[in-house]
């Protein structure tokens, strides 16, 4: 019986990783550890309040929760609340959904959970997605906003970070189609900077990483304390199981 179970498990390993159902370019990896860097997350909060809250809401996020990343209520009120909301209120946006439909073709989605909802087992975490998306804009005069995005073609959102990033151009390379040797396909190979922004590419990537770290934190503010508590719980349960095992042995030694 044991042999069968072992070979069963072995054959499961052959099933292998999920075949990539990937449409679109691969996502860059967001430096996941950044979410524990309070300075980065605070900077991200600032960027979020300045660049995102004009159109997007984060309706499940209370301003005073930002105390968890090391800000005082004074700091929150003075630097991050532009709408006159009280510090205990949630991050709403002033943009009217009707205006949004007129100007952008759709209502900007709520961003509280964006880092959790966009994950894809084949492609990466939601944070990877947003990190890649924000850095994948390029100029496109055929679009109403003047911008297009390789990760989300035809997106209605303009490139709000353009001043920081500058302008870039996507580079496509012709390659043979792996399925049909007679055809060629455009393969996206990366971006080329055509006009600099106020930040260098490296600094812009860092700033975007900070913003995404904030989004990642905002999607589940408890995440770090959850893991920490979990470690203690597991240690306790390990001890409990050890004790229960000895209790079991104390009784079963009598059974012949």
């Amino acid at each position: 019986m044991k042999k069968i179970i072992l070979s069963l498990l072995a054959s499961l390993a052959l099933v292998g990783p999920a075949a990539a159902s990937s449409e679109g370019p691969a996502w860059d990896k967001f430096p996941a550890g950044r979410v524990t860097d309070l300075a980065a997350v605070q900077n991200g909060a600032k960027l979020f309040a300045n660049y995102c809250l004009n159109c997007h809401a984060a309706a499940f996020m209370r301003y005073n929760r930002l105390r968890d990343i090391g800000l005082t209520e004074e700091q929150i009120k003075d630097n991050l609340i532009f709408s006159g909301a009280k510090v205990g209120e949630t991050m709403k946006t002033a943009l009217d959904p009707k205006d949004a439909k007129d100007w952008f073709g759709g209502v900007p989605p709520d961003l509280t959970l964006i880092a959790r909802s966009r994950s894809d087992s084949a492609k990466g975490t939601g944070a990877d997605y947003v990190y890649t998306y924000l850095r994948s804009y390029y100029r496109d005069d055929t679009k109403a906003t003047g911008w297009n995005n390789t990760v989300f073609p035809g997106v209605g959102m303009p490139n709000v970070l353009w001043e920081l990033q500058g302008q870039q151009k996507p580079i496509y390379v012709e390659e043979k189609d792996p399925h049909d040797k007679t055809k060629t396909v455009h393969i996206f190979k990366g971006f080329e900077q055509i006009r600099p922004g106020t930040l260098s590419t490296a600094d812009f990537n860092t700033a975007t990483a900070d913003l995404v770290a904030y989004l990642q934190w905002m999607a589940e503010p408890n995440q770090t304390s959850r893991v920490r508590l979990g470690v203690w719980v597991l240690i306790f349960l390990f001890g409990f199981t050890l004790v229960a095992w000895r209790l079991n042995a104390a009784y079963w030694k009598d059974i012949k």
Binding site: R62, N64, R65, K86, V87, G88, E89, F236, L237, G239, F240, V243, A244, R246, L247, A250, Y251, D254, I255, K256
Partner: protein, 212 residues
């Protein structure tokens, strides 16, 4: 539920009269102890879910009021924690009248403990600034909101020497211009003075005070 095995089952090899098995007892005790600790550790978060949520606490947050627009003799009502809070700008006559009423009041020095009066309001005018009275507009009898009766002199349901104050329409309790309840009325306590403080001469915060 015994901690020992009594040898009625044929398959157990236990010598008769071996007495209590110490190892079983020890391990039962340790397991139970650990289990109780674990159980308490689980119970605490679950019971905590009963506490007011962040949403409730945000809704109950302190309220800032601009009192510069209140004229002498006027009252402003604001909402705090779902309750009406009155800010009354008293005239010098109303303030002077307060001293003479002590004998008619149930608790003239605000000593009763049911709605403890904060230290900064344990004075003659029951407030931080003599001019401004800040009190919760809910009668201490059964919770109705008393009506303003600032005019002096005889009026229906009020004594002939009425010096101004509040009359509760539900059961007739009366309060003076410092929210103190008159004797022999259904209401037992003075009007509650909520925690409050001044951020400036014109800005009052209700719900928070300096002595945290």
């Amino acid at each position: 539920m015994s901690g020992t095995t009594t040898g009625t089952v044929g398959t157990m090899a236990q010598a008769p009269d071996e007495g209590i098995d110490k190892s079983k007892r020890t391990w039962i005790a340790i397991t139970c102890g650990t289990g109780v600790v674990g159980g308490a550790a689980v119970a605490v978060p679950f019971v905590s879910t009963f506490a007011p949520s962040e949403r409730a606490r945000a809704a109950g947050a302190p309220v800032q009021v601009d009192i510069s627009g209140i004229k002498p003799g006027e009252k402003l009502t604001v909402e705090w924690r779902g309750k009406p809070v009155w800010i009354v700008r008293r005239t010098p006559e109303q303030l002077a009248a307060l001293k003479k009423l002590d004998g008619q009041l149930a608790d003239p020095t605000s000593d009763r403990k049911a709605y403890p009066t904060p230290g900064y309001a344990k004075n003659e005018h029951r407030s931080i600034k003599p001019e401004f009275f800040v009190g919760v507009g809910i009668c201490s009898h059964l919770g109705c909101s008393p009506s303003d009766k600032f005019a002096t002199g005889a009026q229906p349901s009020l004594p002939d020497d009425w010096a101004g104050g509040f009359l509760c329409p539900c059961h007739g309790s009366t309060f003076d211009m410092a929210g103190r309840v008159f004797k022999n009325k259904p209401a037992p306590d003075n009007l509650e003075v909520p925690p409050h403080m001044y951020l400036s001469d014109t800005t009052l915060v209700i719900g928070e005070d300096k002595k945290a």
